[in-house]
Amino acid sequence: MARIAKGDDEAFEILVNRHQTSVLNLIYRFIGDRTQAKDLAQEVFLRIWQSAKGYEPKAKFTTWIYRIATNLCLNELKSARHRRWVPFQRSDKESENPVEETFSDGSPTAEDLLLARERSRQVSDALKNLPTNQRMALILKRYDDLSYEEIAQILGCSVPAVESLLVRAKRTLQEKLKSFQK
């Protein structure tokens, strides 16, 4: 960050390459729209560039990045609600272009691809219906494997509050995703 503060482009590129996937996916899982997620991810790095000079390492660097991303997501959701939008929808462009999607099993068949997409859609829908704080806490725990303390720092709440958010989120998802558990 010290190098970035001095205007070192190379250091900034390394930082972007290191964190872009995690930031992009965090936003995508929260917002649910690919195009919007890409725009917001760029906004996150833009803010990092702009605030590099005033950066003081109080917590882990990833916690700081995730905090910026979380705040942007929450603001976006608020403004989307203000515009009476339904942001958590897959765009047409997204469903037309499955090339970028990755699967854990390497080379999927057409059936696998369809099943995976359907499963992803249902999981996304279940996540979408969670309250914002529960959703973000769950995403940070499940996909980024952050500790309760880190999540608490990102969401600006206490550790017991994070624990409670996660218990409620898991209970709700248990109900919503019953069909997957048979």
Binding site: Q20, R119, S120, V123, L173, Q181
Partner: protein, 188 residues
């Protein structure tokens, strides 16, 4: 002796209830900790306690397995990759500071008002131009061939009142009456 026997028999009688309650209470206590246990956020002693309980309690183990299945299902959400030009786009955004700042914010704020503003503007222009053209067209001297106002004499006015007669002049009935009057005045 008799009292001791009574206490013993009482304990024997209520033993399943007392132990069952203790068991349920423990399960309730453990199930509240399952989420934190799954997230490996319990203290080592508590973690050990829950692990030991899960080995012996079928109901709690089932609960934990359900939680695990939900956790695995969440892994089914697809991941996206950033575009290869992500960094280049970002650099372009950084190097175009003029586009960022107060002006785009104002523009974004007024964007929803743009269409109604244009519609109102066009409507206002329509009303103003309509009023202006209307004023010009109703002016008398605008048409050079303005028809002259007809003048009516008192005789014409009386004639026009005859239109309300039972047999107004010019009608077949009037003609018939005239012929009859003529024949009556000059008999053959």
């Amino acid at each position: 002796m008799t009292a001791g026997f009574r206490v013993c028999s009482c304990l024997m009688y209520y033993r399943p209830i007392i132990f069952g309650m203790r068991h349920t209470m423990k399960c309730h206590h453990i199930q509240r900790k399952l989420s934190a246990y799954q997230d490996k956020e319990l203290k080592p002693r508590e973690h050990e306690e829950v692990s030991r309980h899960l080995l012996n309690c079928h109901s709690c183990r089932e609960q934990y397995e359900k939680l695990e299945r939900v956790w695995q299902t969440l892994g089914g959400i697809q991941e996206i990759r950033p575009d290869p030009w992500f960094y280049r786009q970002l650099v372009r955004k950084i190097k175009e500071p003029r586009e960022r700042g107060l002006l785009p914010t104002i523009e974004r704020f007024f964007q929803p008002l743009r269409t109604p503003a244009i519609a109102s503007f066009l409507l206002a222009i329509g009303i103003l131009s309509g009023t202006y053209l209307g004023n010009i067209l109703v002016r008398r001297d605008f048409f050079p061939f303005q028809p002259t106002q007809p003048t009516y004499s008192q005789e014409d006015l009386f004639d026009s009142l005859k239109a309300f007669d039972p047999a107004p002049p010019g009608t077949l009935a009037h003609g018939y009456l005239r012929i009859m009057n003529y024949e009556e005045r000059e008999p053959r």
